[in-house]
């Protein structure tokens, strides 16, 4: 149950965040934190029903990739739903806004995976919830645009309860929802497939049509089974992801995978990360192996292993966070100096263990080790900067 809050503690600002289905959304302050407030005008009966439905649904949900409900307030004439505020805006704005940031296939898979996790959770509840309006506008970004949360549950419904009027956004709607008003969990899967295609093309679905703004043209395309053009998908998109899109967008709902299956598949795609790992020879004796992983808390990390001939390898692990980029570079340099020092100790130990080594050879070894360490440091900093640029550090 959503906790009731004293309306006097809510300070509404003039900033208008948007109009989700059912009501206006404004920025506000509550207990010294910025929040988003959805305003329901109870003088209108249909809006009142929508408000109750949305509040009921949100009160049951507890998932890291679903917008969090803080509380509910009322002033007699209107009802207010207090939600967490994510200031980075929607995924739609990220894709098509003025800034036009780049993003990798890996980041797109990350977004898709989080959406899949949230939907798998919703569909698995004791009273399963179908969102019915899955699209980039309803995905809010946070954590430097790397993570997302689903919002706007105004159209969500229990799976057992089919609505009689058409709801949702046409570009993302499943054919059976458009033609026959049949809404099931597989409709969310279809919309997810459309959005996945959109993430891998950065194009609005059905923009390839002769009249892309025509509701009629879109309806006709969907009802006739016309597919989105797969040739528009970026060339570095893995084949498995393309196949997943097509499975999700199957015209037969029964053939679409469940959200749980999609979550599992995308999780495996994300974990393997073979496209991002690389091996870089630094000199004839040293190789750097860079791999990407997700640690137990779900954060992305970069692991650098320095393999050196006749000497122990050194492993370094770095969290991939924007604000850490500068410190990361400095850390690498510092670690390299330490590695060089370690190399020195190893060389001296080797010297003691053999009578055939000359003082000249020992001196040369020491110099070579120090140079190798410096080279590794320089290359690693360069590699980190290159990766950082790629990841929008």
């Amino acid at each position: 149950m959503v906790k009731q809050v004293d309306f006097a503690e809510v300070k509404l600002s003039e900033k208008f965040l948007g109009a989700g289905s059912g009501g206006a959304v404004r920025k506000a302050t509550f207990q010294n934190q910025e929040i988003a407030v959805k305003i329901f005008d109870f003088l209108e009966e249909t809006i009142k029903k929508n408000a109750e439905r949305e509040i009921t649904h949100l009160s049951e949900i507890d998932h890291e990739n679903v917008i969090r409900v803080i509380g509910r307030a009322s002033n007699g004439k209107k009802d207010y739903l207090l939600m967490e505020y994510l200031e980075e805006g929607s995924l739609h704005n990220y894709l098509y806004g003025d800034d036009k940031w780049e993003y990798t296939v890996e980041q797109a898979v990350r977004w898709a995976l989080q959406c899949a996790k949230a939907l798998a959770y919703l569909h698995s509840l004791d009273r399963p919830i179908v969102h019915r309006d899955i699209k980039p506008q309803n995905m809010l970004l946070y954590n430097q645009h790397e993570d997302l949360k689903i919002c706007d549950f105004g159209l969500a419904t229990d799976m057992s309860n089919n609505k009689t009027d058409m709801q949702g956004t046409l570009r993302y709607m499943a054919p059976e929802a458009i033609k026959h008003l049949k809404y099931t969990a597989k409709c969310d899967v279809y919309s997810f497939g459309i959005m996945l295609w959109e993430l891998m093309t950065r194009q609005l679905p059905y923009s390839h049509l002769e009249n892309p703004n025509s509701q009629y043209a879109i309806m006709k395309a969907i009802s006739s089974g016309e597919k989105l053009p797969m040739e528009a998908v970026r060339s570095d998109c893995p084949e498995g992801i393309k196949q997943l899109m097509e499975c999700c967008m199957d015209i037969n709902p029964e053939k679409r995978p469940s959200m749980k299956e999609i979550e599992k598949f995308l999780g495996e795609q994300y974990e393997s990360g073979t496209d991002e790992d690389f091996i870089k020879p630094l000199d004839e004796d040293t190789v750097a192996v860079v791999t990407y992983h997700v640690d137990s808390s779900g954060s992305r990390i970069m692991r650098v292993d320095f393999w050196r001939h006749q000497l122990p390898s050194i492993r370094m692990t770095f969290p991939i966070v924007k604000r850490e980029a500068e410190r990361l570079g400095k850390t690498v340099v510092r670690e390299m100096a330490k590695a060089a020092a370690d190399g020195d100790r190893e060389v001296r130990r080797a010297e003691k263990d053999t009578e055939r080594e000359t003082s000249r050879a020992a001196h040369n070894g020491e110099r070579e080790t120090r140079r190798a360490g410096q080279d590794v440091g320089r290359e690693t900093v360069r590699a980190v900067k290159k990766i950082g640029k790629k990841l929008r550090f």
Partner: protein, 281 residues
């Protein structure tokens, strides 16, 4: 009429009972400066250039068949429009009332003529024509015991290109080119007028056999039109020809509203007397 008053203090308005609700807000009966008015309260979140456009258009419109705007106000974050109160209810509620009140050819032609005159006035406004974009029986109000009629609610048309916020009730009256996402011009009002006139003549909801937006979109865009065999018996052939010319899928072949207004005037003059409706006594 005098120019509308901007920024009417809310304290001057005595709000009474709720009359109805629409997509963009609610309408109340109210009293302002000893005059009964309709107070239109714009739902929060819907106040944007669309509402400003309606206000701008209403301030310029001055015609006996168009609802008058007296002023604007603001209260609890909502924009308020102080409108002329029209006492007879919508044409839609009359046509589909359970008691099935009777009306003659003359009444039907009279209403169609007045709607046409109101729209023709809008289309003729200078320097820029005003397109209503949502002509339907629900947006036409009866008064003076059904002898007079006024158009209301223009400018508040939902943007169709991004989401299905258009419900079946409104799509039934939309011109095919509007449903296809094209920018509306005056001729879309002509189409809507024709569908409205058919409803007046048949007392049926247009395309009532279709239950979903998908079916409506496909039917209308593929050229289907309401069944003319359903209209009142004894209608002159001119009426049928006029309907065909008004809902033609080819925009360039549709009559202008001015021409329709003249044609309806001529047809009306041959239709006989128009007595007040019993429904309102």
């Amino acid at each position: 009429m005098s120019a509308p008053v901007e920024g009417v203090p809310y304290e001057e308005i005595q709000t009474k009972e709720l009359i109805g609700t629409g997509f963009y807000g609610s309408v109340y009966r109210a009293v302002w400066r000893n005059r009964e008015i309709a107070l239109k309260r714009i739902r929060e979140g819907c106040e944007d250039k669309k509402i400003e456009r309606e206000i701008y258009q209403l301030t310029k419109a001055s015609h006996v068949n168009i609802v008058e705007l007296y002023g604007t106000s603001r209260h609890e974050g909502c924009a308020l429009l102080l409108m002329e109160f029209v006492d007879g209810g919508s044409l839609s509620s009359f046509l589909h009332a359970k008691s099935k009140p009777s009306y003659s050819h003359a009444h039907a032609f009279n209403w169609a003529h007045q709607i046409a005159q109101g729209i023709a006035y809008l289309h003729g406004m200078q320097p820029k024509a005003v397109i209503h974009r949502d002509i339907k029986p629900l947006n036409t109000l009866l008064c003076e015991k059904g002898l007079k009629l006024k158009i209301c609610d223009f400018g508040t048309v939902v943007d169709l290109s991004q989401s299905i916020s258009c419900n079946a009730g409104t799509c039934r009256y939309k011109a095919p080119e509007v449903l296809q996402g094209n920018k509306p011009d005056e001729k879309c009002d002509v189409y809507s007028w024709a569908i409205t006139f058919w409803e007046i003549l048949s007392r049926k909801e247009p395309f009532e056999q279709y239950n979903t937006l998908f079916e409506l979109y496909m039917a209308i865009n593929e050229g289907e039109r309401p069944d003319l065999s359903c209209i009142m018996s004894g209608c002159p052939a001119d009426i049928v020809a006029l309907l065909y010319a008004s809902w033609d899928p080819d925009i360039s072949k549709r009559f202008s509203m001015e021409l329709i207004s003249q044609s309806m005037g001529r047809i009306l003059s041959e239709a006989g007397s128009i007595p007040p409706l019993d429904f309102y006594s």
